[in-house]
Amino acid sequence: MESGSGFATTSIRTKTTIFACIVILSNALGNFALAAGMRGRRTESVVDYLAAIFSPWVALGIVLLILWLLSRMTLLSWADLSYVLPVTSLGYVANALVGRFFLNEQITGARWTGTLLIVAGTILVGRGSPATHIEKGRA
């Protein structure tokens, strides 16, 4: 990764692409780790929840979801919410692919159609500027 001062001068679009990828991957991998850690576990009391939280997979999931929250907040410091929401929805596709290849879940025709619609929607939104207020300010 670039140094702090170098990254500060990186263009908005490059920064947005890098942070959108971090948001998407940390969400998908965090959910996968949580699902793997919670599988077959019974949580009926506070002690059960604490035991779950400190188990390796669930702890990894929580760390990744904290990374997701922080990277999304950073992204929202310059990018529009109406841009971030559709673009980071690629996380749903990543979740489906993780389920298909790591959890052996079936992907039906409807799911492939849904995946294509999300990718198409992301391309439509992604072709525009991520930060219209900055664009307006520079105009």
Binding site: A8, M73, L81, L85, S89, A110, G114, V125, H133
Partner: protein
């Protein structure tokens, strides 16, 4: 608890959480420093923002309501609710946050919402 009440809680808390978080991050301004000292300074500043803390509380409410919904409802019922928030939040981003939402963004948000709903079938 009734599934529709839980969906109402999920939608309302997700929308409020995202709006507050976006408004606070925009008020803070673009984060440009990514070395550890710079990031620590940013997060110490942000930790004092009441609306940002409120947004994280709303996100936690949404998360636990979603987990509760999954105890009694299928994922194929629960996830389309989160898809509906994409269109709703785009609408609020336009009129509350005053973002410039062109027709491409509207079309993209609608396609993504339909796609997420289909993904659960």
């Amino acid at each position: 608890m009734n599934a529709w009440i839980l969906i109402g809680v999920i939608v309302a808390s997700t929308v409020l959480g995202d709006l507050l978080q976006t408004a606070e991050m925009k008020r803070h301004g673009e984060i440009k420093e990514f070395h550890p000292r710079g990031l620590r300074k940013v997060f110490v500043t942000l930790a004092r923002r009441k609306f940002l803390i409120a947004s994280i509380v709303f996100m936690a409410i949404s998360f636990f309501a979603f987990m509760t919904l999954l105890e009694s409802a299928d994922l194929s019922f629960a996830v389309p609710a989160s898809a509906a928030t994409i269109v709703f939040e785009t609408f609020l981003a336009r009129f509350v946050l005053k973002e410039r939402v062109d027709s491409w963004r509207w079309a993209g948000a609608c396609l993504v919402a339909c796609g997420v709903a289909l993904l659960t079938r």
